[in-house]
């Protein structure tokens, strides 16, 4: 999401919140979506909305392939330490400096950035670290952060969006104005400016900033402007749902507002939540990478996807291979995730044919 069109979630540090690409999802897959159950021997077998969605999704070849690519990225990130063990290298050791002959005048000696059977993706110019390991651990850290921000943002959006839609009145008014206010923040600049400021609040300047603290701050800052578009979307959906008969029935039977929200409303808005989540996550990935590129993300020696681009900027005149691998990996990941998002949306919406 750190592309220049940030304001709508593609970075331009586009924060997903402001992207608000309101997909018109039908909220009708809920409890009353008449799944006919005629017993086990009957001609019609009952299928839950989830099963229907899964059946439609499986038929979508693009969706399955992109899901496979996306899952491989997560698997690579999750198993990075294991892969490191088999591969025999780690992302921190400066192989180029410890082993003479690998680097000549800062640059890898071999052709194509020093790609060889020992160093699959070559060597980092200057420090001489292994690019494959750096990328793997970089993906691990970036995806971990992005997943955390997405979870926090989605939860916030559910709480505030559903509350605004269900309670209406003053609650709705204040949440609505809060969303308006946060939408007016220049989010790219906000992320960049507030990472150091929030860090200064928590950590004294002379202290070393612990790794977990950096992560927490990044999550906090991205979350702050990350939840609004989903919240606004959910508010609209809940606003129309709360007039429906099944909510009325629940109210008459004496259910508490909390129970109605939890058992009646939230299950009915799961579709837009899932769809929006698949759009939010890649945006957060690019945002985090953009922050690192600009120098306010994770710092050395923590391996980081986005910072590889910043490092590459110093060397690409003479060695473009170092830029190539993180770049292609990111394009692949974002394309696959966007395709996956489209497929998930189509699978949930029976009316929409591709």
């Amino acid at each position: 999401m750190f592309q220049e069109n940030s304001a709508r979630g593609h970075f331009a540090m586009t924060s997903p919140s402001q992207t608000a690409v309101t997909k018109t999802d039908t909220p009708g897959l809920g409890p009353d979506s008449a799944t006919s159950k005629k017993g086990k021997n009957g001609a019609l077998a009952g299928r839950s909305p989830g099963q229907l969605m899964w059946a439609r999704f499986k038929r979508d070849r693009t969706g399955v392939i992109s899901a496979f690519i996306v899952l491989s990225f997560f698997a690579l990130g999750a198993f990075a330490p294991l892969i490191s063990k088999f591969y025999g290298k780690d992302p921190w050791t400066r192989y180029g400096q410890t082993t003479p002959g690998l680097l000549v005048n800062q640059y890898p000696a071999g052709p194509n950035g020093g790609i060889s059977s020992d160093f699959w993706f070559g060597l980092e110019p200057g420090l001489g670290r292994d690019v494959f390991m750096q990328l793997l651990y970089g993906i691990r850290n970036t995806l971990g952060l992005a997943v955390a921000v997405t979870i926090v943002s989605v939860l916030t959006a559910i709480v505030l969006g559903v509350a605004a839609g269900y309670f209406g009145g003053r609650t709705d008014y204040f949440i609505g104005r809060l969303i308006d206010l946060l939408m007016a923040f220049p989010n790219q600049l906000f992320y960049v400016a507030f990472v150091p400021v929030v860090t200064a609040i928590f950590v004294a300047p002379e202290d070393e900033i612990p790794f977990w603290m950096r992560c927490t701050i990044l999550i906090l800052v991205l979350w702050f402007l990350g939840w609004m578009s989903l919240a606004r979307l959910l508010r609209g959906q809940v606003l129309s749902l709360r007039e429906r008969e099944f909510i009325e029935a629940a109210k008459i039977s004496g259910a508490s507002p909390w129970r109605i929200i939890r058992r009646e409303l939230v299950p009915n808005v799961m579709t837009p939540i899932l769809v929006q989540t698949t759009y939010m996550l890649p945006n957060f990935v690019t945002s985090i990478a953009g922050l690192s590129f600009l120098g306010v993300g994770l710092v050395e020696p923590t391996p980081d996807w986005g910072r590889m681009f910043a490092n590459a900027a110093d060397y690409y005149h003479n060695d473009i291979t170092y830029l190539f691998f993180p770049g292609v990996a990111m394009v692949l990941f974002i394309v696959a995730f966007n395709l996956l998002g489209d497929s998930v949306r189509d699978a949930f919406d029976p009316k929409r044919a591709r």
């Binding site: 592309q3 960049v192 300047p205 830029l323």
Partner: protein
């Protein structure tokens, strides 16, 4: 219309006040002394005291905020000397007036944005509509898949590749740089050509996708079917009826994008080392130059809000059904 503009402007002022207050209090109310941040590592008590006095940091934060806001409209007096009307204070790092720095840097961001916006709006709409016109053909599929891949590109990835191909390896173009248009229009154009193209690649791809889907949606509308049924030619219907309807979502997004870009296209400016507002803000952030960050933040937020109002007003012009009460 006038009432709408007045009401929206009042709302905008409230939002700007809230943003400034939020930013100011977070910056200056932090338990850390902002002067200490400004002063850096080798900071003696003397230098600290001077900064304190210059910035008025010895007063309570709400008073400082009041002085800051009043300074924007009336100007204020610092130890360095008077700071005339739009006064955003003096930079911690360079000692220059923040407003003057912003005014110096803004033409670069403005040139970058206007050039890129012209490219991506024109090319994006044209390819998007062509794809919708030829919906389902090979051309459509080509455009759609190209825009899908290109919209997933990152500027810090394609920027260096384009530079390597066109500048370092072939010397077809010079290193991107900014020359004021008043001094040398050709140099201005040539210097910004690469940044314009790279910045607009991603936007163009997104506008292509947007224009295509908006157009296809419009072509299924009933008024379009009626027009066709009345015997109008496909071209007339396409360009006079469907086109107008498809503009509405695009205008919204274009307004948001333009407003955001005017506040500084950070990644692009850093990638091509153009000293615009984006570079200024990241420089100031890395030096914890709070007054400059604050100034750029308010400047950028003003543009975002301004363009939101313009977009809403533009609705009424494009879509006669929209009435601004």
């Amino acid at each position: 219309m006038l009432r709408f503009l007045v009401r929206r402007s009042l709302g905008a002022i409230v939002i700007l006040l809230l943003i400034s207050a939020f930013t100011f209090f977070l910056f200056f109310a932090a338990p850390r002394d902002p002067a200490l941040l400004a002063c850096g590592r080798n900071c003696g008590p003397d230098a600290l005291a001077i900064i304190h006095k210059n910035m008025g940091l010895d007063q309570p934060v709400p008073v400082q905020y009041w002085h800051f806001m009043a300074g924007i409209f009336t100007g204020r007096d610092f130890a360095q000397g008077p700071c005339p009307a739009p006064c955003f204070g003096y930079s911690f790092a360079t000692g220059d007036a923040v407003w003057n720095t912003i005014v110096d840097r803004f033409p670069i961001t403005l040139s970058l944005t206007i050039g890129a916006a012209a490219v991506f709006l024109f090319v994006g709409l044209a390819t998007g509509m062509l794809a919708a016109w030829k919906q389902g053909t090979l051309l459509d599929k080509l455009f759609s898949s190209a825009s899908l891949v290109l919209s997933s590109m990152q500027i810090y990835f394609i920027g260096p590749i384009v530079l390597t191909l066109l500048v370092y390896n072939t010397n077809l173009l010079g290193q991107p740089k900014y020359v004021p248009i008043t001094e040398d229009p050709v140099g201005w154009f040539m210097g910004l050509l690469i940044p314009w193209c790279v910045l607009s690649i991603i936007f163009t791809a997104q506008y292509t996708r947007m224009a295509r889907s908006a157009m296809i949606e419009q072509l299924q509308e009933e008024h379009v079917r009626t027009a066709r049924a009345k015997g109008m030619s496909a071209a007339t219907v396409f360009f006079r009826y469907a086109w107008r309807g498809s503009l509405i979502p695009i205008v919204t997004i274009f307004g948001i994008d333009l407003g955001t870009l005017f506040g500084g296209a950070m990644i692009t400016e850093v990638t091509f080392a153009l000293p615009g507002l984006g570079t200024l803000s990241i420089e100031s952030v890395l030096r914890t130059d709070l007054p400059t960050v604050m100034g750029v933040m308010l400047f950028a937020a003003t543009f975002i809000i301004l363009f939101n109002i313009i977009v809403d007003a533009a609705y009424a012009l494009i879509d006669p059904r929209v009435r601004l009460a």
